[in-house]
């Protein structure tokens, strides 16, 4: 029993002693130790900074998505990979407006939906024109779902919808670009060689968000029915569920409804796809992971280089202290005890590098967070990244300290004591 307890106790005692010795050794060679760990410091600093930047980016993206609304569901046509639909042409796959009739009654979790078309077209007013303006066909419910209201004039009426009148809403950017006066209600603009009357101004996209900036702010909206009649276009729908938490139910209801309205048999695959903002988040997360992996690879190389530095200095340390090793062996240190001592020293050295690296990484993170316009103001080093860095640094210490430590452990005590 005592023998069983003695072994781990001895190990702990040796470990503590080794740590104390290692700290003493590092303290005695402050300059050398610091220089040696530069590789580790750079590696750890860059990995923590990259992770901090990505974390900040993610937080920012999440926040933007929140303002966009996570309760939106996009319904888009989709070619199944297999089955008979694979060979259908786009006319057979695309949505028909009548397929959405009765959607709100059949899908209680859906608050509202709008059919949409989205095309890039040239818009004229007199000599001024915009190439590639976004021309969207929308239902009036679009304003509620997208949370963008009409700031001047009026929204589309049921009459506009029913008759497919050529009326439009424009954003302030379109008005300015076409050099229309501020009160341009009632003026006509030419969209794709057809004349449309402006009935209102709709507020522009939320600016400043990562995704707001990506979309064009030059948008022209026309009644969905008008777009449908004029261009016979590819259409999709945007629905909002009553609460973000109901998203899953809403999707199930939509799927059931659409399968029926599109007359899909029990074994047929879906010919449409439901896209939720969360899905985009997942995609973003995957992307972030990929970036982390690449950064991790680069950092791995720098840690490797740092590790070689550690190995070098440990070999120096072993040869400098050959006599000490000899003496320790003479008074009864087993090879394993010597191995432990040098391994601990190398690990402590690396962890010291990890500590410095984390501090430098924190410094870099604060700098990154203050770059104006980089959308990284939320960057911070998550705890797991610090753990990871120390884990890596420690592993480098074990891996590259092993060879010098084995060398020390194998020294012949007589030779070692004779060493000058």
């Amino acid at each position: 029993m005592i023998r069983l307890l003695a072994a781990p106790l001895l190990f702990v005692a040796l470990l503590l002693q080794s740590i104390r010795l290692a700290l003493g050794q590092i303290w005695a060679n402050k300059m050398r130790s610091t220089l040696t760990t530069v590789g580790i410091v750079i590696g750890v600093a860059s990995v923590t900074a990259v992770i901090a930047a990505l974390t900040g980016l993610k937080a920012k993206v999440l926040k933007d998505f929140e303002t966009l609304g996570t309760n939106k569901i996009f319904i888009v046509p989709h070619w199944p990979r297999e089955g008979k639909f694979r060979h259908f042409n786009w006319r057979q796959i695309r949505f028909q407006p009548r397929q959405f009739e009765g959607l709100l009654e059949r899908c209680p979790s859906i608050e509202d939906y709008t059919l949409m078309t989205d095309r890039g077209k040239t818009v004229h007013h007199g000599v001024h024109s915009i190439d590639g303006a976004r021309v969207n066909g929308i239902n009036p419910s679009w304003h509620r779902i997208e949370n963008r209201s009409v700031i001047a004039g009026r929204p589309f009426s049921l009459m506009d919808e029913e008759h497919g009148w050529q009326v439009c809403l424009i954003t302030p950017d379109v008005r300015d670009e076409l050099r229309l006066e501020r009160d341009c209600i009632g003026k006509r603009i030419v969209v794709d060689r057809r004349s449309f009357q402006i009935v209102g101004i709709v507020e522009g996209r939320v600016k400043g968000g990562m995704f707001g900036d990506m979309g064009s702010s030059k948008e022209v909206f026309i009644p969905f029915e008008t777009a449908w009649r004029l261009w016979d276009p590819w259409i999709y729908a945007m629905a909002s569920c009553r609460e973000a938490a109901q998203s899953k139910e809403a999707q199930a209801e939509l799927r059931f409804f659409l399968r029926q309205s599109r007359r899909l048999g029990p074994g047929d695959p879906d010919t449409f796809r439901l896209e939720v903002i969360e899905e985009y988040l997942k995609t973003f997360n995957k992307m972030a992971m990929a970036i982390t992996a690449v950064a991790g690879g680069v950092v791995g190389i720098s840690l490797l280089v740092g590790g070689v530095g550690i190995m070098n200095i440990m070999l120096v340390s072993v040869s400098e202290r050959t006599r000490e090793i000899g003496l320790r062996k003479a008074v009864g240190a087993k090879p394993s005890a010597i191995l432990l001592q040098f391994l601990v020293e190398s690990v402590v050295l690396c962890l010291f590098g990890g500590l410095l690296g984390t501090l430098v990484g924190q410094l870099m993170t604060s700098m990154i967070a203050n770059i104006p316009g980089a959308s990284l103001e939320m960057a911070y080093i998550p705890l797991w990244a610090i753990g990871l860095s120390f884990g890596f640094a420690g592993s480098v210490g074990v891996f590259f300290g092993m060879f010098p430590a084995i060398k020390a452990a194998r020294l012949d005590p007589i030779e070692a004591l004779r060493h000058e």
Binding site: L9, L14, G24, L327, K329, A330, V331, G332, A333, K334
Partner: protein, 241 residues
């Protein structure tokens, strides 16, 4: 019998040449004996010390320490024997410069295990008092005189209460006055029952021992009891007894 060497040889290979550092040593040392080993350099006395101290293995013959055959022990096993059975005193003290006297004395106890921090401290202090250094506990080696350093080394050698104290030219780096003090300490330890084997090339130092072995060419050429033997010979282990 504490130490029993039978036909012990130690052969070094230098290139194709074989050097017989020890050429068949038979030796018995009893508990409580005080033995000095003399001989010119190259006579094999250091090799004998290394074998006795389990720092080295013999290439032939057997070495029994305390009734245990050490010939086939692993390096870890030999380390354990050194730790528990043997205390070394070196010519150049071999104190670790960054540790104070107390920590140096504690060193073998750390590798022995089975003792907590307080136990080690108490034991180390006790040994420092024993060698007359109660006032130098916190001093580092560079703050100590040569004689004091050797006393610390002796305290360290005694810390695990070893069966044998092995001293390799313990006074080699000391002036005669200090040497005398150290030898007096050895005498005292011997009188308290410590077995001592000491290598020296100075006759007057060797005279402190009860028994003097003289070596030449890897063999023991003489094994005599000294006149200054203050004890009834508990038997010198030599053939003539």
């Amino acid at each position: 019998m504490l130490i029993q060497l039978k036909d012990v040889t130690r052969v070094y290979k230098v290139g194709v040449e074989r050097i017989h550092a020890l050429a068949g040593i038979n030796l018995e040392v009893k508990r409580n004996e005080y033995v000095a080993v003399m001989g010119a350099s190259g006579s094999g006395k250091s090799t004998l010390m290394n074998i006795l101290g389990c720092l080295d293995r013999c290439t032939g013959g057997t070495y029994e320490l305390n009734g245990h055959n050490t010939t086939r022990l692993s390096s870890g096993g030999l380390a354990h024997v050194r730790n528990t059975q043997i205390g070394f005193v070196f010519q150049s003290f071999e104190l670790l410069p960054r540790l104070n006297a107390l920590k140096n004395v504690e060193l073998p106890l750390i590798y022995a295990g089975g003792m907590n921090w307080l136990g080690r401290r108490t034991r180390a202090k006790e040994k420092l008092v024993r060698v007359g250094l109660s006032g130098r506990v916190k001093h580092r080696p560079n703050q100590l005189s040569g004689g004091e350093k050797q006393r610390v080394a002796i305290a360290r050698a005694l810390s695990n209460n070893p069966s044998i104290l092995l001293a390799d030219e313990p006074t080699g780096n000391l002036d005669s006055r200090t040497s005398y003090d150290i030898m007096a300490l050895f005498d005292e330890l011997h009188q308290q029952g410590q077995t001592i084997v000491m290598v020296t090339h100075e006759r007057d130092v060797a005279e402190h021992a009860e028994r003097i072995l003289t070596m030449r060419d890897g063999q023991i050429i003489s094994d005599e009891l000294t006149g200054s033997n203050r004890r009834i010979p508990t038997n010198g282990g030599s053939d003539d007894e």
